[in-house]
Amino acid sequence: MIEYTSTRHNPGIDPTLHLWGWEIPVYLFLGGLVAGLMMLSGYHLLRSRWDHDRAHGHYVTAPLFSLALLSAGMLTLFLDLEHKVQVWRLYLTFRPASPMSWGSWILLLVYPALAASALLTLPDSLPRLVRRLPVLSRVAATLSGRDGTVHLIGFANLVLGAMLGVYTGVLLSALGARPLWNSALLGPLFLFSGLSTGAATLHLLSHLTPRARGDAPGFSDALASVLVTWLRPPSAPEGSRKLEQADNSFLTIELVLLALFFGGLMTSTLAHQTGARLLLTGPWAAPFWVFVVGSGILLPLLLQFLQAQRRIQSTLVPALLVIGGGLALRFILVAAGQASHWSIALP
């Protein structure tokens, strides 16, 4: 009891410090990850002539993984809601000034776009299900029959993915009461962090889906081979080099955005500077520099650079580090943001 009041670590003493627990960071991470996956597979659909590039294993299973991850993320968001039964009211109105309203509508549109791109690849990703339900294969054939439809689905995924990615950051930056989040750069930062974790996840999927047999890699196969080829894939699959290069570009942009984010805060008011110092030198400095910058950005950058030059063996380590770094960024920013106050600037 004494310790609670004197060190104020108890949620009952300082409830505002602990308004958001693990649910929001996990949702922001999964939302960003799905946004990245949507943009990458949308870009793939737009660029590819569909018939030729069907065999790209990771793009086949990605939409289904995205649907699963997004649903998990939505579940955490739902867990965080105070009035769970009232959630439907969000869809009775649209308020252009409210990021929450934007977010709920974006999420509503994201699902059909993802479902359409999942349907496109369903005969390859879940062959058994499609054999049971032939109607699915007819739908898939109709959708992939015309390049225009495929491109439309790709475009929708690209645009909605970008909106989703930016929205996860805007959700925080719109809360003016927290000086650390009070930066417009948070949207792009989360978007590019999402893109890098998305590319890393695709890379992971490409390693985990068997390609040797020539037939299509199934969704369930991919899950089962997670344990088999854990750290040492037999060889780097085709396309993974491009993904590594893309991931490195995203990580570099993310690093620049982080620098600009802190640059902006440090040249702003005392409250913003104090907020930024929470991460730079304060209580979150060690996890931030180690897990976000060190092992989340710099180390995978270096490893992927060396892998791309074929100077070291290609492994899943950089992909796992990038995903860990993305998760750490959300957790640390959400926690440190809630600890940053305007009252710090008062005399």
Partner: protein, 422 residues
């Protein structure tokens, strides 16, 4: 800018973890590049097939040794602030034997098992898991074996002190010993392990001035310089920088307020020593929980390790200030004084005064916090009757609680394991 940087407050706890991350990555990288992530490579030294481990480790030791010695002679490193692990002769010999047996059986030492696990080797991961299991098991039985672990204590000793040798001479001797070991290792590799020598080996290089020979010459000459360079420790002859002392005293960076100290104790911080310089009777009557009684006359240059963070307290503050000057001139870098002494401690921590009812909510919250801290230390908050503030400080001079009145489980009261060490 002097080293050790942490001790000179160049960075705090958080940044020190970031530095540790960078050093750890670098250390792991070079261990892996040296081939130490492979158990076969490490075990090869026991069969004299490849004594690379011995060479790398010994090179690291003499490089660090010569470097530290010379840097401290140049005044860039204060060796007395570098932490030395205390020696417990018999337990450490037994521990070394256990480690050696584990090394031979498993093929890894603790550091290299981490490298091996990080490079994806399953034997390394199993070894690491076993090590963590052993650590947990040891921590669980520690209270029962503590007397064994702390048997035959010798304190913080160095070879030079133990054998009464000049430090520099010892450095030179170790460099020569290392060179001898390298030569013996190459000879053993050739004769016992049947290994064809490298073209650039120390023993029989293809060219007369191979890089490894040049490196050896540099190390031996630096060792020779060290042999005549004198004592690297800054002794009692070090000059006191009175200007710096005056500046430190002037900018009040050396003050710790009673409230701050109370918070440290409540938080269970154990990275500082609280020294009470009053006389024995006063100390027996009351002292701050966790304080250690050291009269002014006993503040010598070796009364505690010089890398300790020390907070001095006295009744009013004058004796503490004198102790501060004394300790600073004895070369203790991190000395602070309890501002206002025990008087201030009683007024603000043990018996804090309630703010008037009209005070701002922030002050009320702050007082609630202070009241809780006061109860923690066995004191009681003083509330003023009604809204009118008392004209005179009506703080009743209660008999200060005896030490027993302080909660027995006060975190700072218990000796805790230091954070330092390897």
């Amino acid at each position: 800018m002097n080293a050790p940087f942490f001790k000179y407050d160049l960075f705090g706890d958080e940044i020190s973890l970031v530095v540790a991350f960078a050093i750890g990555i670098g250390f792991g990288f070079f261990l892996e590049r040296a081939g130490f992530g492979r158990a076969r490579m490490l075990a090869a030294q026991f069969y004299f097939r490849d004594l690379r481990v011995l060479k790398v480790m010994f090179t690291a030791i003499i490089t660090a040794m010569v470097g530290l010695f010379l840097l401290s002679r140049l005044g860039l490193v204060d060796l007395s602030l570098v932490y030395l692990t205390p020696t417990f002769l018999v337990p450490q010999a037994v521990g070394g034997l256990i480690l050696g047996v584990g090394f031979v059986i498993g093929g890894y030492c603790p550091g290299t098992s981490c490298v091996s696990a990080a490079t994806g080797r399953i034997d390394g991961m199993v070894y690491l898991a076993g090590m963590i299991g052993g650590l947990v098991g040891f921590a669980e039985i520690y209270p029962r074996v503590e007397h064994l672990v702390k048997a035959t204590p010798m304190g913080q000793v160095t070879l030079a002190e133990q054998f009464n040798l000049p430090y520099g001479l010892l450095v030179f001797a170790v460099v020569l010993m290392a060179l001898g070991a390298f030569l013996a290792a190459e000879w053993a590799e050739k004769v016992v392990g049947r290994k064809t020598p490298d073209p650039d080996s120390l023993l029989a290089p293809a060219r007369p001035l191979a890089p490894v020979r040049r490196f050896a010459i540099v190390l031996v000459s630096l060792g020779l310089v060290a042999a005549f360079a004198g004592n690297p420790y800054r002794g009692a002859f070090a000059r006191v920088d009175t200007k710096q002392l005056a500046l430190d005293a002037g900018n009040k960076a050396d003050h710790v307020s009673a409230v701050q100290l109370a918070d440290w104790i409540v938080e269970g911080r154990n990275d500082f020593l609280l020294i009470d310089v009053r006389d024995a009777a006063e100390f027996a009557a009351y002292h701050i929980p966790g304080a250690r009684h050291v009269p002014l006359a006993e503040l010598t240059s070796d009364f505690v390790a010089r890398n300790e963070r020390i907070v001095v307290c006295s009744e009013g503050g004058i004796h503490a200030a004198q102790a501060w000057y004394l300790l600073r001139s004895l070369g203790f870098p991190a000395v602070y004084l309890l501002f206002g002494g025990l008087e201030e401690w009683k007024d603000t921590v043990l018996y804090p005064q309630a703010p008037p009812a009209t005070a701002a909510p922030r002050d009320q919250v702050e007082f609630a916090r202070r009241a809780a801290v006061a109860t923690f230390f066995g004191g009681s908050p003083q509330t003023t009757g009604g809204a009118a503030p008392a004209a005179t400080p009506a703080l009743p001079k209660l008999a200060p609680p005896t030490p027993a009145a302080a909660p027995a489980g006060a975190p700072a009261g218990k000796p805790k394991k230091k954070k330092e060490g390897c």
